[in-house]
C-alpha cells in the first residue's frame, strides 16, 4: 500500500514534464513555421522582377545630354531632341534566370497578340520589341491609350508589370572608347 503514493507522484511528474515540453515546443515551432511561410511568400515576390518598359527616348541620346550638361559643353538642337523609336523592353531585374514561354498582349479590352516564346533571360538580360511586332500602334501616345496589359508567362509564373517610362540610363553599355550601345 505504501508504493501507491510514489507511483502517483511519478505519474504526476511525468504528466507535468510532458505538458511543459509541449508548451515550450509549441512556441518554438510556431516561430519556425512563420519563418517558413514568410520564406514562401518572399520567394513569390522575387518572381515579379521581370518588368516591361515602354518608352520613346534614346537612352544614349539622353546620356549624351547629361554628360554634356555636366561638363558644361554646348549641345546642338539635334542633341536636345532625345526622342527615339518606341520600344517595348522586357527586362529581368531579378537575380535568377527566367524562361519566358508565352506572351499575351491586351489592348482595348481584347487580345491583340499572342505567341509562344522560347526566351531565356539571365539576370539583367533583356529582349526588345517594336510595337508593331506585338500588333500595337507605333505612336507612343496612341499606344498609351490603347494598351491594357502585356502578360508574360514563364514556368509557373506570370509577369505583368508594365511601365510607360524609359529604363534607367545604366541600361546602356559604354565601351572603352566612350561609344554607347542601347537596347
Amino acid at each position: 500500500m505504501t508504493i501507491l503514493p510514489v507511483v502517483i507522484a511519478i505519474l504526476f511528474m511525468l504528466l507535468f514534464s510532458m505538458l511543459s515540453m509541449a508548451m515550450i515546443a509549441r512556441g518554438f515551432l510556431s516561430g519556425i513555421e512563420a519563418s517558413k511561410r514568410e520564406a514562401e511568400e518572399h520567394q513569390l515576390k522575387m518572381k515579379q522582377w521581370v518588368k516591361t518598359y515602354i518608352y520613346n527616348v534614346s537612352l544614349c541620346g539622353t546620356l549624351n545630354l547629361v554628360v554634356k550638361g555636366l561638363r558644361g559643353q554646348p549641345v546642338s538642337r539635334q542633341e536636345l531632341d532625345v526622342k527615339g523609336p518606341v520600344k517595348v523592353l522586357v527586362v529581368n531585374e531579378g537575380g535568377e534566370a527566367v524562361n519566358l514561354e508565352h506572351i499575351t498582349v491586351e489592348a482595348l479590352g481584347s487580345i491583340v497578340y499572342e505567341a509562344e516564346l522560347n526566351v531565356r533571360l539571365p539576370p539583367g538580360g533583356w529582349v526588345v520589341y517594336a510595337p508593331r511586332d506585338l500588333n500595337l500602334p507605333d505612336d507612343y501616345d496612341t499606344l498609351r491609350e490603347v494598351l491594357d496589359m502585356i502578360i508574360l508567362f514563364g514556368g509557373r509564373e506570370t509577369f505583368n508589370v508594365t511601365v510607360f517610362q524609359p529604363p534607367p540610363l545604366t541600361y546602356v553599355e559604354v565601351g572603352e572608347a566612350g561609344e554607347c550601345y542601347e537596347p
Partner: protein, 436 residues
C-alpha cells in the same frame, strides 16, 4: 517500472520535437537558398562633376530582403567569365530591410579602379557571390547587380553668374521695291529672355519704322548670318521674311535669333552684343539733297550747259552708287541674368481636346507629355472651359525622373450635350529627386 516507462516516453517526445524543429529550420534555410536573393545587390552610377573632370562613381548597395536578420560573412567579386577578381571576409549584420552602401575598393583595394569608372565595372564585373548566415543556416548565392543611376545635376551648376560671351554678325535688311519710294528706318533692338525648365531662350527682335509710299505689298527680309557659342549657350540665327501690306508708316518687327542654353534647372548669365545692322535701298531725299548741293557749288555757274548737265548726271550716278552702299547702324548690347543652382519656374501645360460629338454619355481621354528636370517645382493649373453643362472626372498620373516625362491624363465625361473643345492642364506638382 512506471519510472522507466516515463523516462522512455519523455526521451522519445524530446527527440521527436527536436527533429521537428531541425526539419522546419532546414526548410526555412532551403527556401532562403532557393530564393537566391536574400541580399539584393545594386550597383549605382553617380555622375558628378569634380573640377573639370566628370566622375562616373560606382557605389554598391547590399540590401537585406529577408524578413529576418542576415549576416553577410564573405563576398566574392567575379568577372563575366566567372573568374574571381577579389574576395573578402566580412561580418556585416543587416536587419530586415536594412542596406549598406560601399565603394568597390571597400571590398578589396584591387577594385579601386572601379570606384570612379562605373562603365568599366559594368563591363567587367559579372556577379557578386555572397555567403550569408540566414536563419542559422549558411547560404551562398550569386547576386547579379541591378544597375541604377543617380545624376548629381547640381554639381554641374555654374559657380559664377559672370559668364559672358559675344558674337558678331551681320544683319541685312533687303527691300524689294517695285517703284520709286521714300523710306526711313530707325532700327531698334528688343531682347527678351525666358528661362524654362531646361533652357534659357533669348529672343532678339529688330524693329524698324518704315515710311513708304509704295504700292503694297512689299517684302522685307531680315537675315542674320553667323553665330558663336558661349559657355552653355548656342546662338541660333533665324531668318524672317516680312510681308508689308500697308502703304503708310509701318512698324516692322523681325525675330533674328534665339539663344538656347541646354541647362537643366540652371540658367547661365551672359552678355551678348547686338549684331551689326545694315540697310540698302533708294532714298529720294538723299538723292535730291546731293543734286541740290552740287548745283550750289560756286563753280557750277561757270560751267557750260553741257558741263552742267554732265556734272548733274555724274552727281546723280555717284549718289546712286553711294546710297547703294550698306550702312552699318550701331551695335547695341544686352544682358540676361539667371540664378545658379535651383531655378523655380512655372510651366503651364495646356492640352486641347475635341470632345466627341456625342448626344449621350461619352468619354474622351487626352494625354499630354512633358519633359522636365528633377527637382523643379512646377505649378500647373486646370482650366475648365465648358461650352455646355457637363461633369468631368480627372485622373492625373505623374512620373518624375531626371529628364522625366510627366503624363497627364484627363478623362472627361459629357452628359447629354455636344462639347466642342476642352482645355486642361496639370495641377501643382513637385518632381521628386529620386534615385533612379
Amino acid at each position: 517500472m512506471a519510472l522507466l516507462i516515463g523516462m522512455v516516453a519523455f526521451t522519445a517526445i524530446a527527440v521527436y520535437l527536436a527533429r521537428a524543429a531541425q526539419s522546419a529550420n532546414e526548410a526555412a534555410g532551403t527556401y532562403a537558398g532557393e530564393s537566391k536573393a536574400v541580399v539584393k545587390v545594386y550597383a549605382i552610377l553617380e555622375m558628378e562633376k569634380s573640377g573639370d573632370i566628370l566622375l562616373n562613381k560606382t557605389y554598391l548597395i547590399l540590401e537585406n530582403l529577408w524578413p529576418d536578420e542576415v549576416t553577410v560573412d564573405h563576398v566574392v567579386v567575379a568577372s563575366k567569365s566567372g573568374s574571381i577578381i577579389a574576395e573578402k571576409n566580412l561580418n556585416m549584420k543587416l536587419k530586415p530591410g536594412e542596406s549598406i552602401q560601399m565603394r568597390p575598393s571597400d571590398i578589396d583595394p584591387s577594385l579601386l579602379a572601379y570606384d570612379n569608372d562605373f562603365w568599366r565595372f559594368k563591363r567587367e564585373v559579372g556577379s557578386i557571390e555572397i555567403h550569408a548566415d540566414v536563419g542559422r543556416q549558411g547560404v551562398a548565392f550569386k547576386a547579379y547587380p541591378g544597375y541604377r543611376a543617380f545624376i548629381n545635376q547640381y554639381g554641374a551648376a555654374p559657380t559664377s553668374t559672370t559668364q559672358s560671351g559675344s558674337y558678331t554678325s551681320t544683319v541685312t535688311v533687303t527691300t524689294t521695291i517695285t517703284s520709286t519710294s521714300t523710306y526711313f528706318t530707325t532700327p531698334t533692338r528688343t531682347v527678351t529672355t525666358t528661362c524654362t525648365y531646361k533652357t534659357c531662350i533669348q529672343r532678339e527682335y529688330q524693329t524698324g519704322y518704315i515710311t513708304t509710299r509704295l504700292q503694297a505689298p512689299t517684302t522685307v527680309t531680315v537675315t542674320q548670318s553667323s553665330f558663336v557659342t558661349s559657355g552653355w549657350c548656342i546662338i541660333w540665327p533665324t531668318t524672317t521674311t516680312l510681308y508689308l501690306t500697308s502703304t503708310s508708316t509701318t512698324i516692322v518687327t523681325a525675330k533674328i535669333g534665339d539663344v538656347t542654353c541646354a541647362v537643366c534647372g540652371v540658367c547661365p548669365a551672359g552678355t551678348y552684343q547686338a549684331p551689326g545692322y545694315s540697310q540698302s535701298g533708294h532714298s529720294i531725299p538723299y538723292l535730291t539733297a546731293m543734286v541740290l548741293a552740287l548745283t550750289l557749288l560756286p563753280s557750277y555757274g561757270r560751267l557750260s550747259a553741257r558741263g552742267r548737265l554732265g556734272l548733274i548726271l555724274t552727281a546723280l550716278l555717284v549718289s546712286l552708287l553711294v546710297e547703294r552702299i550698306s550702312l552699318t547702324v550701331g551695335a547695341a548690347s544686352s544682358t540676361f541674368t539667371a540664378t545658379t543652382s535651383t531655378v523655380t519656374v512655372t510651366i503651364t501645360s495646356t492640352v486641347t481636346l475635341t470632345a466627341p460629338p456625342a448626344t449621350s454619355t461619352a468619354t474622351s481621354t487626352i494625354i499630354s507629355t512633358e519633359t522636365r528636370c528633377r527637382g523643379v517645382q512646377t505649378t500647373i493649373t486646370v482650366i475648365d472651359r465648358p461650352i455646355q453643362i457637363f461633369t468631368t472626372t480627372r485622373q492625373i498620373f505623374t512620373s518624375c525622373r531626371w529628364l522625366m516625362t510627366i503624363y497627364n491624363t484627363v478623362t472627361q465625361v459629357s452628359l447629354g450635350r455636344t462639347l466642342t473643345t476642352y482645355t486642361a492642364s496639370l495641377h501643382s506638382l513637385t518632381c521628386q529627386s529620386t534615385v533612379q
